[in-house]
Symmetry: C2
Subunit: 222 residues, 2 copies
């Protein structure tokens, strides 16, 4: 059986990941500059090819892709959608499952690893056709999904450092949603949230009233 024949019978199976973090109060997504074919020198979401002999499932593929780009551990990974077709990748009939992942804001030491010329943390709402393939569509799908979840009341604690104030949390939600939130209303909403764990006696101090510190409750799931 020839390779060309195989390529007609089996699609290329890949994974692409939108890794979000918060920098200076703004949401950012990791993009990489491709070294190899196809689309060399073009920007894209970090992605990789499924290795059935290595990956237990596609989630593993996504984790493997991320760990080759980012030194620190990613705290949340969630599947968004699957795109497919003969035209979307010049290598032939392909399938790509898109994920999004969340990274704590301070830790952005991403590295340009193998087959990547450069990286950038860019504003996901302002990409101006920088992305190759259908990655702009995938990124928009990921952002829409993330926003829907936060709008429904999910708390993006994975975007924060381990200990955080309620203002930190509000800023993270605002960064995700792209809108300002009212302080009073926000605090009413999260007042009885079981996923928030108040740290008694621990405060963030500064030239103002100290702010109560919180951490995610054990077993917290975004």
């Amino acid at each position: 059986m020839q390779i060309s024949k195989v390529k007609k019978l089996f699609p290329l199976v890949t994974v692409d990941v939108a890794l979000f973090t918060v920098v200076d109060g703004g949401l950012r997504v990791l993009i990489v500059r491709r070294e190899n074919d196809p689309a060399p020198d073009k920007w894209a979401l970090p992605g990789g090819i499924l290795k059935p002999d290595v990956d237990k499932c596609l989630d593993d593929t996504a984790m493997r892709v991320l760990s080759s780009k980012v030194a620190v551990d990613v705290r949340h990974l969630e599947q968004v959608t699957t795109v497919s077709g003969a035209e979307r990748d010049p290598r032939g009939w392909s399938i790509s499952t898109a994920y999004y992942a969340l990274l704590a804001g301070e830790l952005v030491p991403a590295v340009a690893g193998a087959s990547v010329k450069a990286i950038d943390w860019c504003d996901p709402t302002d990409l101006q056709d920088r992305l190759a393939f259908d990655h702009e569509f995938l990124l928009n799908a990921a952002l829409t999904r993330l926003r829907a979840k936060v709008r429904q009341g999910a708390l993006p604690l994975h975007l924060l450092s381990q200990k955080f104030t309620l203002t930190d949390l509000q800023r993270a939600c605002e960064a995700v949603l792209g809108t300002r939130l009212d302080k009073g209303a926000f605090r009413r909403l999260i007042k009885d949230e079981p996923s928030l764990c108040l740290l008694p006696g621990e405060y963030l101090r500064g030239p103002q009233r100290p702010a109560q510190l919180f951490q995610a409750a054990t077993g917290f799931q975004f």
Copy 2:
């Protein structure tokens, strides 16, 4: 290149579809009794293998699967999730993208076609381990997605015949959600819904006050 080698490098790519309809005011999903390996004689969601030479994308695969089971045209198809792994299908490393589809209530002339011994329209909330593979998981994911959409205010007009009354629509929403809705509140919600098109002078008559008929507005998208 041997087939066994190919199977280790390329996953099996399939599609499974949860086709919903409403019968006697209750939500139903189509399940089929498998004829062939794997899992012969077991019930499952209708599914099929991707044919890259035939299908333009996975949505096409899903449509092809449905058209082999159901004689009439399916009015809505939406992707739910993608599952993957070496264990979920005995044939080896596999990927399956799950969809749900909606069918107008009266039209349930599904046929037991090729490689299917029998069909059944069963209550999706009461399946008692009838389904093979991980199809119960896929069905639950599909139902959850459908319910979320209706709860957010989407109107499942695709479950209704072309002309319908507001009571018909309320019954369909109730069937999807599995709860009773208040008539007054429901009508308040849909009062200014642009996807509903009142048919002037057209009424459903019976031994009671006639009911105004509606149809989906042109360009309606669920």
